[in-house]
């Protein structure tokens, strides 16, 4: 990207650190981390294939994919936010808001594509507020998105009065219907968004700029990048993704509820970090994030099939996640980049 400033022009492709071009170094680190988690994921798959009945079946993998579709879509937006040096806690409010808004719209006869579009606009609207406060007013994203989480979640409860809204027309649940061989349209949407996100981050000026501002905001500003606009844009994308995830979960449940997705912010951040991102920004990627999402979904599914007691499931999930992160870091260390 060429900056507009004459004297401070920096090409992101040429940016380097310790002699290694920034982008290549970033991709290598993410690749190594993702490879580490990938190896761990294979071990998890092998373990559950042996221990959990019915795990190694096509129908179960379709089920895992359907389960992770919602959190996967949220995680794409979250990954972009984290790569740019921020994070978005408000997804846990935007997701249920999207869910109940979609249910309400389709129940009032709005056609499905238009309803989806409106819901994404609502999510983007939450993102605009986040982006404005974080980028223009310079308020910490933790506080900002915590505030909008509360507002968006409260709005969802206000719209529904706390009551679940079932779809009047079950055909509105298109994203929960099978697209092919038990694989839901929501999963297809996740794959499309993941591929699009990967391409944007890797091969566009916009994507590379996000890595740059995540790595060093001030340097990026001095290089002439429109940091405020870029920062605001990631919250808009994240809000849109979260709202669309709300549509998908509402389609799966054939109902909108203000209580869905309450843990989606922490789960999505976990998935992004598992995928090789750093909370400090500038590192990470969508493929690794998807691996993180799959790991979370597979562990939950496998333990449910093994009928592990609920309390032990929580402990085991925490332990497995710590081991997974350790695995990734160990792999980085052995590769000499840790």
């Amino acid at each position: 990207m060429s900056a507009s400033g004459r004297e401070s022009t920096i090409d992101v492709k040429d940016a380097s650190f310790r002699g290694v071009p920034l982008r290549r170094r970033t991709l290598r680190e993410v690749g190594i981390q993702a490879f580490g988690v990938g190896v761990f994921y294979v071990l998890v798959l092998i373990f559950f294939s042996i221990e959990a009945p019915h795990f190694l079946q096509y129908s179960n993998f379709a089920l895992i994919l359907a389960d992770v579709a919602v959190i996967g879509i949220v995680s794409i937006g979250q990954a972009i936010a984290i790569i740019s040096g921020g994070f978005d806690l408000s997804v846990s409010g935007t997701l249920p808001l999207g869910s109940v808004a979609y249910a309400d719209l389709v129940n009032h006869g709005v056609n499905y594509p238009l309803a989806v579009f409106i819901v994404i606009l609502i999510g983007a609207g939450v993102g605009v507020v986040n982006g404005f406060i974080v980028a223009r007013l310079g308020i910490n994203p933790l506080i900002t998105t915590l505030g909008t989480l509360s507002i968006a979640g409260g709005l969802a409860y206000t719209i529904t009065n706390g009551v679940t809204i079932p779809f009047t027309y079950p055909s509105a649940g298109v994203w929960g219907n099978p697209a092919f061989e038990r694989v839901q349209w929501g999963v297809v949407a996740l794959v499309v968004l993941a591929v699009a996100g990967t391409l944007v981050l890797r091969y566009t000026v916009y994507g590379r700029s996000l890595y740059a501002i995540g790595g060093n905001k001030e340097a990026s500003r001095l290089a002439g990048m429109r940091v405020n606009l870029l920062t605001a844009s990631v919250y808009i994308v994240s809000g849109g993704c979260a709202a669309f995830a709300g549509v998908v979960i509402a389609s799966q449940l054939l109902a909108g509820s203000a209580s869905v997705g309450s843990d989606s912010n922490l789960l999505s951040i976990t998935a992004v970090i598992l995928g090789g991102a750093a909370l400090t920004g500038g590192v990470g990627g969508i493929p690794g994030t998807m691996l993180g999402v799959l790991l979370l979904g597979t562990i939950a599914n496998g333990m449910a099939l093994m009928q592990v007691q609920t309390f032990y499931q929580q402990i085991a999930t925490g332990c497995v996640l710590l081991v997974a992160v350790g695995f990734g870091r160990l792999r980085s260390y052995l590769a000499g980049t840790g």
């Binding site: 009945p53 019915h54 079946q57 129908s59 179960n60 089920l63 359907a66 389960d67 409860y157 009065n161 706390g162 009551v163 679940t164 079932p166 929960g176 979960i249 799966q252 449940l253 054939l254 109902a255 509820s257 209580s259 869905v260 997705g261 939950a300 599914n301 449910a304 099939l305 009928q307 592990v308 007691q309 609920t310 309390f311």
Partner: protein, 374 residues
């Protein structure tokens, strides 16, 4: 002299007006119920429309029977409940009704009320020193089982081909989760070949009962999405031709489980029980052939019961250890009796023996919705 006469006429006219006004005031005072008591009431939360309705009705029902009710919102928070307890004491009411919604803070709140020497009622969660008003979850389980067992027999479902799926919430405590356990216990005792269990032998750690299995307990967290996910996973383990009896603890959980069942096209082999009698639950009970029972605790009637209990306490009546909230399990046959064709109850179940002391308070009679109370 003339001036004196005018003055006397004036005084007489004034006296007439004053006495008229006084008479009017007396008449209107006797027409309206006299506010005899002031109660303070802390609602469990005003965020849920159902619970908010209870809080609203507490005030309006109180007004109807001449009791001023000042309300607070505990917001399902232990710290808020503690703070509200202090605020309610400051109001110096005749009686405090507290629905804390939080376990394990009853001792500290009870101490606050005891220090202030104000009589109190504990709703749903115990408070030391306060007479207790609550539903009994076990009756919801037993009531549902009494509806389901005949249906099972009619359908020729046996222990060999049937699994009872209990959706529970491991964080909610033993009392809340006991309903499904009583349900399993009752059904298994009347189904030859099904492994027998006492309700207390099924705990939060129990995942399966019997080798087939005859019973499974899965974590639905009493919510829509977790119940959907948990049920989807469980269906993987249960053969498609197996009959399912799904017991849930609220209607959101039932809706989530039901969605998973319909997605797996297993609704014809399933009986499901919801709880709460909300709009979705009542609609399903009336129209869905598989939705065979629906627990109802008649929240709309809780205020009048609690007001009657409060007046009884102030009248010096010794209350039983537990005053039972109105509750029943609705079937397709009884839903009309209690709810008509609407979404709100029109009549309460009959008073259980231990609650009959409430009649003497004279409060229930003013609402006319408790059978046998005149």
């Amino acid at each position: 002299m003339k001036r004196l006469r005018v003055r006397l006429v004036g005084i007489a006219a004034l006296a007439l007006v004053v006495s008229g006004v006084a008479l009017l005031a007396t008449t209107s005072a006797t027409a309206r119920p006299k506010a005899t008591y002031t109660f303070t009431y802390a609602n469990v939360t005003d965020k849920s429309p159902l619970f908010k309705l209870v809080g609203d009705l507490m005030v309006t029902d109180g007004k109807k029977v001449g009791i001023t009710v000042k309300r607070f919102d505990n917001d399902f928070s232990a710290s808020t409940a503690l703070s509200n307890a202090q605020l309610m004491v400051q109001e110096q009411p005749n009686l405090i009704i507290d629905w804390t919604g939080t376990e394990s803070i009853g001792n500290s709140i009870g101490a606050i009320f005891k220090r202030a020497n104000i009589p109190c009622i504990a709703v749903n969660q115990t408070i030391a020193g306060c007479p207790y008003f609550n539903l009994q979850n076990k009756y919801l389980g037993l009531g549902a089982a009494q509806i389901v067992v005949p249906i099972m027999k009619q359908k020729n479902w046996t222990s060999k081909d049937t699994t009872i799926v209990m959706l529970f919430n491991p964080g909610a405590g033993a009392e809340v989760n006991s309903n499904g356990r009583y349900f399993y216990s009752y059904v298994s005792a009347r189904t030859p070949g099904m492994p027998k269990r006492t309700p207390t032998s099924i705990t939060d750690s129990t995942t399966t009962i019997g080798p087939l299995p005859s019973g499974v307990q899965i974590n639905g967290a009493d919510a829509l999405e977790p119940s959907y996910t948990a049920m989807k996973n469980e269906l993987q383990l249960l053969p498609a031709d197996r009959h399912l009896i799904v017991f849930t603890q609220n209607d959101d959980s039932a809706l989530g489980a039901w969605r998973a069942i319909t997605q797996a096209s297993r609704q014809k082999n399933t009986l499901i029980i919801g709880q709460g009698a909300d709009a979705d639950g009542l609609k399903n009970l009336r129209t869905n052939p598989s939705w065979v029972a629906e627990g109802s605790v008649f929240f709309e009637f809780w205020p009048e019961y609690q007001l009657a209990m409060g007046v009884s306490i102030l009248n010096g009546v010794k209350t039983p250890p537990l005053t039972l909230a109105p509750q029943t399990v609705l079937s397709k046959q009884t839903v009309k009796k209690y709810y008509g064709n609407g979404l709100h109850p029109i009549v309460s179940p009959a008073l259980p023996v231990q609650d009959r002391y409430l009649i003497k308070s004279g409060i229930l009679q003013q609402f006319g919705n408790v059978p046998g109370v005149k």
